[in-house]
Symmetry: C2
Subunit: 574 residues, 2 copies
């Protein structure tokens, strides 16, 4: 039971102390989440109240089904951008259709996550490599910031890729509303100042570090409050400043997703990408935070937790949600002990939806856009390019392609290309394994690459160390490699394959070995193996290969060397 | 120069002896190829003369560009079936369109092969695993034989999958022409008798083995000759026996492929599959035969050779060709020394096209179908199912799926599914690497799996041997594995990762190791590595990982054990 309902593991140990710790964290996260939820809904192209709705029941659902004690679920920037891209592609005309599609997307994503969890398919997320994710997040950050520039300029612009967005922005540049631009720029400067300069300043003036931290976190709320008052006091809407306007007050409505099969098939790929990206981001922060308290995250149950959250979002007028990085860290730092903190945050947001919406009427969209831009600057991190360039060109290629394709063709093309390219590059790498010709290091029992070390060799014996498992993609490469090595080298009488790094020999490789054995035999050359691992040997014993092998299987390469070199030296000695 | 024109390497050493050896082989292969080329054209749904046309210039082109001395290029059964499937899918109405599509398919396939050769992309063919090919060839053989039953019954039937073919055959069964069925069955029985019983009988009667061999090879020609005479003598066409009819006499015509972009895009995938399957089959027989004479096959140049052959086929009214297994073996056994044997075979077929076509007028299609059925029985070999079942369930799954999907949905679906499934299964396997917890075998320096051996361990030290390269697909698996292992096991102070079988650590795995290091450190556990390979270590040194690593990198696992166990025993001793 408690495997599928992790709440059962912590709820019975719940104490007043835990309650007060959770409540404190919930208050801080609520203050942070109100502007974020409005802003991310705007980013997703949805009415702001949907951001609030997505921050109530989904949090409660996660509290029941999630395994992380401190993950803060709700609207996040990247998933909001992906939602905008997914629904934007559909070419829907009415606002109602757009909202319906967002709800359906949350439902599909919730179902996919839950099914992946029930069938323990969490490992599928592993095919998103770290560099691809890093590149994707960086490119998404740039797309998000660019997509918000229109609000700062007070113009309309569209597009899901950088070229589209920039072209659209440039063509609308003459319509820039200067009042909006001034307001937006000032908010932006204020937020950057709060983010990068306020905390050190406050600390310098002697405030306790914890308090200056909270003040810095409250920056977006202050920006939104001040800009709203300014808009109202100076009657800026008449000057063309776009405001949020009427947000219906009240608890989240009960909603149903669409069951239109055409819509489902149109949204399926997007839902899958959103699910996987959301899951990967969420589980990674959850694991990092859990490890700090020696707690355990069950990735498959996390899928169910996030699935339940998204189904809850679909049922209550929300849109796709996942665990947010920044908010979860705040929740953790603020002392949250159990998922109950999330449930209390949900109550906080519900209260905001009930009572705060009237005062948000004059909230300028430019201020929300500014909070988004400042929030996503932390996503943009090109250091992955430098790091991968130094570490591995293959990884660099995957990152660079992901960044370029995400910027150039949008989030879905980018992430799909990143995944496929990573797999293709991996297969390519393993299809041309490192094969070293080795010789004996004099005075030892070690065998090393003849190209790198001064080693002892015998013209009649070729010893090849294969640094890769043998499988279909490299089986023929090995055939070619050995063919090329021995043809024309007439003194060769023995070929030894040193298999210490061969973790697997599949059927294709087995047949290639049989082929190699046969062809070498046709040339009068004997094939031997050395240092074959136990499980690989077990499997070879179930085939005919060992019966047909012209040579022997040596336990160690040194045995092979001793036996064969004494044999080959006999005729020359005689 | 001679890299791209292998003819230059052998032509200057050409002697009268080589000429007479090549001529002898060419005569035998020509006799074998005449009925085959007609029959395979019929199988491809094309007029019989196209089979002859595909056996003239393509052979000459291969003689110039190919690297195998003995490969016999021309129409083959599986590629003919794939041609029928590819063009059948287009739903073309006129015979002219159908022929045009076949010529275009040969051209596209030739271009793809040549480009793959020039860009040295031959390794792409490696992603067709041996078991997938074996399953595909077996299923193709069954499809081919089934598709020919209609000619034996004298009915019409269509379909590219087994269910389609059988349904169509059964529904036309009442229309069976009994004269055709009798003729076809007798030809079939005769051919099977020639194949399986004639040679031993002849040898028993004292004929030299070589002569009885040639007589057995001439079986199809005899069958075609006799059945043609029977049809003519008894006026069987009036009884409803389908005959080949008028074959235009003359050399192959010059033709141009279509350059219609719609046709190209419709044929592209088929052309790619035909190219890859054709190449893999061809290069494998070429390498096997070359090895017997210590000759070398250059797979990338083979792509160019086969590409040139297919372009030649497109230019002279042919259809896709490749190297045939049975014919190449015959060519080799008959003593062919150079590709000139192929060029002489081309002259033989050209003479047949010029002078033999009138006498083929009464050739019954049932007899051609019988030669096809007998030829493809050698393709059907279910032993791969048994072999893979014993050897590896993963390979078995791939074979079984390939056979079932090829039979159930046709050749293209089958081979595509086989390739994708092999890759998916490989990725799945490597995404869950074998990780063994090891301990010291007492009295040795060896470390073995604690579950399988009586070994010495220390509750404070967990040593995990990872039997796989670390890359994105298994990086998080390792994180989970280590997390699960250490959480709740409070005495643990050290985790050692034994990396003797780790051939690669990619950026994702590096970040996972950093994460593992950090999380273990949060739990007060030190992370160490042991037996890291040189190239992997070189790469790690280019990152910050080694600076951040809480523990050490030990040259051998025994060093790690000595150092750490002496450390952990101190506090208990104190």
């Amino acid at each position: 039971m408690s495997r599928y309902f992790p709440i059962l593991t912590w709820a019975r140990f719940y104490t007043p102390q835990t309650f007060s710790a959770d409540l404190m964290a919930a208050v801080i996260v609520t203050i942070m989440l109100i502007p974020q939820s409005l802003a991310y809904a705007l980013l997703a192209g949805l009415p702001p109240e949907m951001g609030l709705y997505a921050s109530v029941l989904p949090l409660a659902a996660y509290a029941i089904f999630g395994t992380s004690r401190t993950l803060s679920v709700g609207p996040v920037a990247v998933v909001s951008l992906m939602t905008a891209a997914a629904i934007g592609n559909l070419g829907l005309e009415t606002k109602t259709d757009y909202i319906g599609a967002a709800i359906t997307l949350a439902f599909l994503s919730g179902m996919l996550l839950t099914l992946m969890g029930l069938f323990r398919l969490g490992f599928l997320a592993n095919f998103l490599s770290h560099p691809v994710i890093a590149g994707f997040i960086t490119a998404s950050g740039i797309l998000i910031a660019t997509s918000q520039l229109k609000h700062l300029l007070g113009v309309t612009a569209h597009g899901h890729s950088l070229p589209e967005l920039l072209t659209s922005l440039v063509s609308h540049l003459p319509e820039t509303n200067l009042v909006t631009l001034t307001l937006g720029s000032m908010t932006l400067v204020f937020l950057f100042w709060v983010r990068f300069a306020l905390r050190p300043t406050l600390t310098k003036f002697g405030l306790p570090s914890g308090l200056s931290d909270i003040l810095a976190k409250a920056g977006p709320v202050a920006a939104i409050g001040i800009s709203t008052v300014v808009v109202w006091a100076f009657g800026l809407p008449e000057k063309g400043v776009q405001i949020v306007g009427t947000i219906p007050a009240g608890l989240p409505p009960l909603t149903l997703p669409s069951f239109d099969p055409d819509l489902w098939s149109a949204l399926f790929t997007s839902a899958l990408l959103i699910s996987v990206i959301g899951f990967v981001e969420s589980v990674s922060v959850a694991q990092t935070l859990a490890a700090k308290k020696r707690q355990r995250i069950d990735p498959d149950q996390e899928l169910i937790g996030l699935g339940a959250s998204n189904i809850a979002a679909a049922a209550t007028g929300g849109y796709p949600v996942t665990g947010g990085f920044a908010r979860s860290v705040v929740n953790f730092d603020a002392g949250a002990e159990t998922p109950a903190a999330g449930a209390m945050t949900a109550i906080g947001i519900a209260l905001a939806a009930l009572f705060l919406t009237p005062i948000l009427f004059f909230l300028p969209k430019a201020a929300l856009a500014a909070t988004i831009i400042v929030a996503v600057t932390s996503l943009v991190d090109f250091s992955i390019l430098r790091k991968t360039w130094r570490y591995s060109r293959v990884d660099f290629t995957a990152v660079a392609a992901t960044i370029l394709l995400t910027l150039g063709f949008g989030v879905e093309a980018g992430v799909a290309a990143g995944v496929l390219l990573s797999i293709a590059l991996f297969l390519f790498k393993t299809s041309r394994p490192h094969v070293a010709e080795v010789g004996l290091v004099p005075g030892t029992q070690h065998f090393r690459n003849v190209l790198r070390h001064e080693v002892q060799t015998d013209p009649a014996i070729v010893t090849l160390r294969i640094d890769e498992s043998l499988y279909f993609a490299n089986a023929r490469y090995l055939e070619d490699h050995i063919n090329t090595r021995v043809i024309g080298d007439d003194p060769v009488r023995h070929v030894v394959l040193m298999c210490s790094a061969v973790n697997e020999i599949d059927m294709s490789a087995l047949e290639s070995l049989e082929e190699i054995n046969q062809r070498l035999s046709d040339m009068g050359i004997t094939l031997h193996l050395s240092e074959v691992k136990g499980p690989v040997m077990d499997r070879l014993k179930r085939s005919h290969f060992l019966d047909d092998l012209t040579g022997s299987v040596f336990l160690s390469q040194h045995d092979a060397w001793k036996t064969l070199s004494s044999e080959t030296s006999k005729p020359t000695a005689a």
